[in-house]
């Protein structure tokens, strides 16, 4: 017969073997101790000033901490670059107000094309966590850049369809966003904001919050600035989404992700562009500058 003490020892050993063998710690880590992975929510970077939106993922959920500010140090690692010598440093501040995920936005200027690395420092209760992300900076972007002329797309308007629900997947559309084409807005000689978004089928989950921000800003600036929403997918939206078929304006603007928001001045020149989530706090000063005919300074 087996000695009971030996039996107990063996059982404890088995449990230990299973836990260690599975690569799991013997005790579950507390949420704060779980590692954080920063991800950048942008699809393209170019020479000049760029918006760098970061998300932080921890334990299966995005972090949404308004008190967090990230350190961002940039290194050029292309030909003759040195990954130990910082080129510049900046900070990513919280811009997640009203968004389903926390967003931390930094602005950085890249003075040359090629390989760069961003070192992200996340303050934690027990010190800091640092991760590096590779960035590839291009001479030209796919999407229209700041300083480019807006592309005069002839997107559908309310006049082209029997009802707005064939024009937008927004469950609460504001009719003012569907009165003019982008071409009309350029010809109107008035600044305008154009949002390419799909509130009903948004893969990034920020389209509907973006539209809420723009509707709020339209109520304040609507007499000085035109607002346009271009739905990403043609009607019927669900079918087009399944087939990855986008509207002509998306192709004409060469947009490969969604959502995008562009601020265009009265001469039809793009003054600012935002990929992904936007917030009232980030966009309001920019639209105020656009309405006043001033150069837009997006840096907080």
């Amino acid at each position: 017969m087996l000695n009971p003490r030996l039996f107990l020892t063996l059982i404890v050993s088995i449990v230990t073997i299973v836990m260690v063998g599975c690569g799991q710690p013997a005790t579950a880590p507390t949420p704060a101790a779980l590692p954080i992975a920063p991800v950048i929510a942008a699809s393209e970077l170019v020479i000049g000033l760029n918006r760098l939106p970061f998300g932080l993922l921890q334990g299966g959920v995005p972090l949404n901490d308004p008190d967090l500010t990230l350190g961002v140090t940039l290194y050029y690692v292309g030909p003759d670059g040195d990954r130990t010598k910082p080129v510049s440093t900046t900070q990513a501040v919280y811009r997640g107000q009203g968004l389903p995920v926390g967003l931390y936005v930094a602005y950085a200027t890249f003075d040359r094309a090629g390989g760069w690395e961003a070192e992200i420092t996340v303050p934690q209760p027990n010190g800091t966590q640092t991760n590096r992300i590779r960035l590839d900076v291009s001479e030209r972007a796919f999407a229209p850049m700041v300083g480019d002329r807006a592309i005069p797309s002839r997107n559908l308007t309310a006049a082209d369809v029997p009802s707005l629900d064939q024009l937008t997947s927004d469950p609460r559309p504001d009719p003012d966003f569907y009165r003019m084409t982008i071409a009309d807005a350029i010809n109107a000689g008035k600044p305008f904001v154009v949002s390419f978004a799909t509130p009903g089928y948004c893969q990034t989950a920020v389209c509907a919050p973006n539209m809420a921000v723009l509707k709020q800003l339209k109520s304040e600036f609507g007499d000085q600035v035109n607002f346009i929403h271009v739905e990403v997918y043609p009607y019927p939206f669900g079918e087009s989404f399944q087939q990855a078929r986008t509207v002509d304006a998306m192709k004409e603007w060469n947009l490969r992700t969604e959502p995008w928001t562009f601020l265009v001045d009265r001469q039809g020149i793009i003054q600012a562009r935002y990929e992904g989530g936007i917030t009232f706090a980030e966009l309001r000063p920019a639209i105020a500058q656009l309405a006043a005919g001033q150069p837009i300074n997006p840096v907080p």
Binding site: L2, F7, I14, C22, G60, N131, R132, R134
Partner: protein, 132 residues
């Protein structure tokens, strides 16, 4: 006594097999690109929005560790462009490099290990099915 030990040994093996689901087990795969052996070790069935570690091991055609390369990973979904997910792999010595990032959507992802060595760039692509 010996019989008991046998029983417990078999029990341990069963528990290891049942207890270790594939989410928590790293899968190690190697590709040889122009004489450079690129090994990637990372979870076989990772979960989205969770920090995932990646180990890259480099060996030259003689089996010697390669420790002086610039290494980063380029993660994307073949079905749709997912923006920039390119964690830099930090050298840890003996040809071993470590990186951490997260998959932001469930489904099939491609992980391209990019190795910049002298004037040459090597790329090896691996695949993972990411769980919700």
């Amino acid at each position: 006594m010996i019989r008991w030990l046998h029983v417990i040994g078999i029990l341990s093996s069963l528990l290891l097999i049942i207890g270790c689901d594939s989410q928590s087990v790293p899968l190690r795969e190697t590709q040889v690109i122009d004489g450079l052996a690129i090994t990637l070790e990372t979870l076989e069935r990772p979960q989205m929005n969770t920090a995932v570690d990646f180990i890259v091991v480099l060996q030259d055609d003689q089996g010697n560790p390669v420790s002086d390369a610039n290494v980063y990973l380029d993660l994307d979904m073949p079905a749709m462009p997912m923006g920039i997910t390119r964690p830099v792999a930090v050298p840890e010595g003996s040809g071993r490099y470590w990186a951490r990032t997260a998959y932001t959507m469930e489904g099939l992802w491609e992980i391209t290990v990019v190795v910049e060595l002298a004037e040459t760039t090597y790329r090896a692509t691996f695949r993972r099915d990411v769980l919700k």
